[in-house]
């Protein structure tokens, strides 16, 4: 038996899955001020009359990290940045407590200028004086050589309570994002680790003693006990949960579009050959561009509860939500009201919905029914055109080889999956607009909790081997090892897979779920003067985002 829980902004959903079938579902309103309370209530519903000893695992997707960032419930973080030449510090300053120190590591991971430990000590003392307990240390190109970050930590460790190092956040190049990611990781650490502790206490009280996992933005899981060092990985896991849920309920290997139509927003994801796509560099949260690996999900401000207005005789839908639909006592007309008036759904109070549309219809000089039709059509059009834009953007992603330019793969969605509150009334029309059949999975209303329950542990590993220098660097791990001149690409791939396996197991993966794939694999001859002096080998491998198993239908 598996329990999956998604603590969302509005609802907290939970499912119990037995023999890959849904055994039980539960839904409660999320208590924003006390997520534990929501967890307590939803597990109360779910585990009543169940023997917790039969559980094999529990997976939790939560908004705790996302909310902490969006609502500014974060800790003060002292940042020490080794930025060297390049972007001006004024473009890198993420908060008031940023300190730029001299030092530089170049693109090949060679130390060009050292750091001054006395200077670092002084900054540490200052943090201590100012009551700053959290520190982020980030160097340019630190994933190519983490030594300076490590040295700074050694110097400053006694002055602060906790430190995050930039190179541990992700193996990709992008200094400003590394700064943002490290900053956020440290800023939410306290609130996150408290939450983890409380979750563990709660599960203890419920007599749950099996491994507990937390969902990450890439739709993969991590053992909750291991997650404390990288809380930033858990941001935006809510939308990822829904997408993984859809994935668990469908079988297609075709290109597809997946929609989660919520009250405020609609999330759009594209499956290429049945596989959800990842963000090229990392997810963006509340204006912060990060290195957090995450599913590529576009969110648009159109949902069932979007406020509908009339401006200069034209209907405007969203992006804001001012409350529930008028049919449920909300203050303004919404697409949901239009769908109620059109008879596409029978929820809420129809008369209220009609009443809310009346002033709009007067502005538009048409009947209430016609107004409802226009609102519905425009809502669907907005979502459909966002889907097309997203597919266009995916196809137009830059590529860097002639091979890829000539290959020029198009996306041809063969099916549209829809979940969320307005899935049923809108799916058919959306399918018509996008020219493909529609499928609403059976348990669409708890897709998020199912997605969490069935997600597998994911990880990524980035390797740079430089045979001229005789070094191999593993970005995420901060490892640098010596390699012989005859080191090959095959050797690099072997190491990447092995190290990735170790990492994933440590994060809580089961051996049987380790679907490892090499996502990047390049080798360059390094020529200095007229002679080949070495090879520059770049390998990236990942445990593919996916499921431990699909739901039986």
């Amino acid at each position: 038996m598996i329990m999956g829980i998604d603590v969302g902004g509005t609802h907290t959903d939970a499912v119990l899955i037995e023999d890959l079938r849904i055994k039980k579902k539960a839904k409660v309103i999320t208590n924003e001020r006390d997520l534990l309370d929501s967890l307590w209530r939803v597990t109360d519903d779910l585990l009543r009359e169940e023997n917790p000893e039969r559980l094999e695992r529990v997976v939790l997707s939560t908004t705790i990290s996302t909310n902490a960032i969006v609502q500014g419930k974060t800790d003060r973080v002292g940042m020490i940045l080794v930025s060297g030449p390049g972007l001006s510090p004024s473009l890198l300053r993420i908060n008031e407590d940023c300190h730029f120190i001299p030092g530089y590591v170049n693109h090949r991971g060679m130390e060009i200028a050292g750091i001054d430990r006395d200077n670092v000590s002084r900054i540490g003392e200052r943090f201590q004086r100012d009551g700053i307990d959290h520190c982020g240390i980030v160097g340019k190109f630190s994933i190519r050589n983490p030594q300076q970050e490590i040295e700074i930590r050694e110097t400053i460790a006694t002055h602060v309570r906790h430190v995050s190092l930039g190179h541990r956040m992700a193996g990709r190049l992008n200094f400003p994002r590394r700064i943002a990611t490290t900053f956020l990781n440290e800023a939410i650490r306290e609130i996150y680790t408290n939450f983890v502790k409380q979750v563990l206490d709660l599960m203890h009280l419920r007599n749950v003693s099996v491994p507990i996992y937390i969902l990450k933005a890439d739709g993969g899981t991590i053992d909750i006990a291991q997650s404390g060092e990288f809380p930033v990985q858990t941001i935006l896991s809510g939308p990822a949960a829904s997408i993984m849920g859809i994935l668990s309920m469908v079988e297609s290997r075709d290109d597809a579009i997946a929609l989660d139509i919520g009250g405020t927003t609609t999330d759009i994801a594209v499956f290429a050959g049945g596989v959800p796509l990842l963000e090229a560099v990392g997810v963006t949260i509340f204006g912060h561009k990060t290195l957090v690996r995450g599913l590529r999900i576009r969110s648009i401000g159109v949902g069932g509860d979007s406020r509908v207005r009339c401006e200069d005789g034209r209907i405007v839908i969203g992006p804001e939500r001012e409350g529930p639909a008028a049919a449920f006592g909300g203050p303004f007309p919404t697409p949901t009201d239009a769908m109620i008036v059109l008879g596409l759904t029978s929820i809420g109070e129809r008369e209220r919905a009609k009443g809310a549309l009346l002033p709009l219809s007067r502005h538009m000089q048409c009947s209430v029914l016609e107004a409802a039709k226009t609102i519905f059509e425009q809502t669907c059009e907005k979502i459909a055109s966002a889907c097309l834009d997203e597919m266009e953007a995916i196809v137009n992603r830059p590529v860097y080889t002639i091979h890829e330019i000539l290959e020029d793969r198009r996306l041809e969605p063969k099916i549209l999956y829809v979940v969320g509150g307005s899935a049923r009334p809108m799916a058919f029309r959306l399918g018509e607009m996008l020219g493909c059949p529609v499928y609403i999975p059976e348990h669409a209303e708890v897709a998020n909790a199912i997605g969490a329950a069935l997600a597998r542990t994911t990880a990524e590993m980035t390797i740079l081997a430089d045979t001229e220098q005789g070094t191999l660097t593993i970005g995420e791990e901060g490892d640098r090892i010596v390699i012989p001149p005859q080191f090959t690409r095959e050797d690099a791939i072997g190491i990447a897979k092995e190290k990735l396996r170790e990492r994933a197991i440590k994060m809580g993966a089961k051996e049987e779920d380790l679907e490892i794939e090499v996502t990047e694999d390049q080798e360059f001859n390094m020529v200095r003067g007229f002679y080949t002096t070495g090879k520059n080998i770049r390998v990236r491998a990942q445990v593919k985002p996916g499921l431990i198993a699909s739901l039986r239908t």
Partner: protein
């Protein structure tokens, strides 16, 4: 340093699967560290910097500019169509006003490719700037264009293609041809009879540094651009003037390149040469991108930058000042020179040997230009090479006058295949390309 942000398009195409040969400077590795630096600096995350995927140029785009012998497909690879396509994408984004300016950071380069192409010279097969300029003219109408070539080598290909075009100003600033490939680019190369002054060459002595380059920019290039009044300014942005470049001998820096691009404000920049792939390109490109986007580039410099070791001597400074004055005077007298140099002749002929160093081909060309006051003038080229293939080409210019057009059509019709293996007609105005 607060600047006005501009929207800059970036077409980044490192062609990680293409090389002239495994150890050639023009190889897969060339833009690897530039990519690392651009990614690490996070440049693509700025709202003002937008990356676009390059399109593919067509053979028709190439034929608008070149006479490829025996035909286009034989002298190019797909990589050339992507790099020319990248330049065209940059132009499209600017012309459609999606961005204020654009940088095609693409390879392989093109500025040594001349009008007739029999193979590769100076690592170039086709001229990607010229293909882009003619694409713009075909799709967006006639434009006055200035191409400022800041590669360390004389932009002899671009000069050759636009030698007779009064509407394309080619300014090349480079290391003195007496000390570097291709050995041309002197003051006296000043444009064809109908386009005197539309070719400007500024040879600089070895070891010229930022000071010298920026002096030339301020005292020659910008004033001439002011008077020429181009609709579009293009920077043929070679990066081998850098002090660390292995095959040249200049002392320009990343900061200098950024300043130059800031002051020049090109609509489009296109990468040309530059082979200090680790020590220069990563920093020069970051500097150019920031400058084009109007972002603060004051902190961009090479990790080993030492202003004292690369400072130009006083002697060089004096030489550069004198050079600037001479060239500007020459430009001012361009109108008078026409009478003196050309007089009353009807046609002007020049013979030129062309050597394709990359492919080892020797060619003899004879170019004949009809002297014309109404257009760039009809051009014919007879050419023979040591690889065989005698060819004859008739080039009717863009915005051609009726007389040049009639004469060109007549010559093409009358020229038989008895003397030549191929006879070509390139009608730039009507975008027609014929071979017989």
């Amino acid at each position: 340093m607060l600047k006005k942000e501009r929207k800059t398009g970036l077409i980044f195409f490192p062609a990680f699967d293409w090389a002239i040969s495994p150890t050639h400077p023009e190889r897969e590795e060339r833009l690897l560290y530039t990519q690392d630096q651009v990614f690490e600096e996070g440049l693509l995350d700025f709202d003002s910097i937008i990356e676009f995927k390059p399109g593919l140029a067509t053979v028709g785009d190439v034929n608008r500019v070149h006479i490829c012998v025996p035909d286009t497909r034989s002298v190019i690879t797909e990589s050339h169509l992507v790099s020319a396509g990248g330049a065209i994408t940059a132009a499209e984004k600017v012309m459609k006003r999606e961005v204020d300016n654009a940088f095609a950071l693409v390879r392989p380069p093109g500025h040594h490719a001349m009008l007739v192409v029999r193979g590769a010279r100076g690592f170039c097969n086709v001229n990607i700037e010229a293909i882009m300029v003619e694409y713009i003219r075909k799709h967006y109408g006639p434009r006055r264009v200035a191409i400022v070539d800041t590669d360390c080598h004389h932009g002899d290909g671009t000069q050759d293609i636009y030698w007779n075009d009064p509407n394309t100003l080619c300014i090349s600033i480079h290391q003195d041809g007496r000390t570097l490939y291709p050995g041309t680019g002197f003051h006296r190369e000043f444009g064809g009879p109908n386009a005197l002054g539309a070719t400007i060459n500024i040879p600089l002595p070895p070891r010229t540094s930022d000071e010298g380059f920026l002096y030339i920019l301020d005292h020659v290039i910008l004033p001439i651009l002011d008077e020429f009044k181009p609709d579009l300014v293009i920077n043929s942005a070679g990066q081998d003037n850098h002090y660390s470049d292995p095959i040249t001998d200049m002392c320009f820096t990343a900061q200098g390149y950024a300043l130059l691009n800031d002051r020049l404000s090109p609509h489009i920049a296109v990468l040309e040469g530059g082979y200090s792939i680790e020590k220069a390109l990563p920093y020069v490109n970051v500097g150019i991108i920031l400058a084009m986007a109007g972002l603060d580039y004051s902190n961009v410099r090479e990790p080993d930058y030492d202003p004292l070791t690369i400072r130009q001597s006083d002697e060089i400074s004096r030489y550069v000042e004198k050079e600037a004055a001479e060239i500007y005077t020459l430009w001012e007298k361009r109108g008078l020179m026409r009478e003196k140099l050309i007089g009353n002749v009807e046609y002007v002929r020049r013979k030129k040997p062309v050597y394709y160093d990359t492919d080892g081909i020797s060619e003899q060309q004879e170019e004949t230009v009809r002297v014309c006051t109404d257009c760039g003038g009809l051009v014919t080229i007879a050419s023979a090479a040591d690889t065989g293939n005698r060819i004859f080409a008739v080039i009717i210019p863009g915005q051609s006058c009726p007389a040049c057009r009639a004469k060109g059509e007549e010559i093409y019709t009358e020229t038989g295949k008895d003397k030549y293996n191929y006879v070509y007609l390139q009608d730039r105005e009507r975008d027609i390309f014929l071979v017989k």
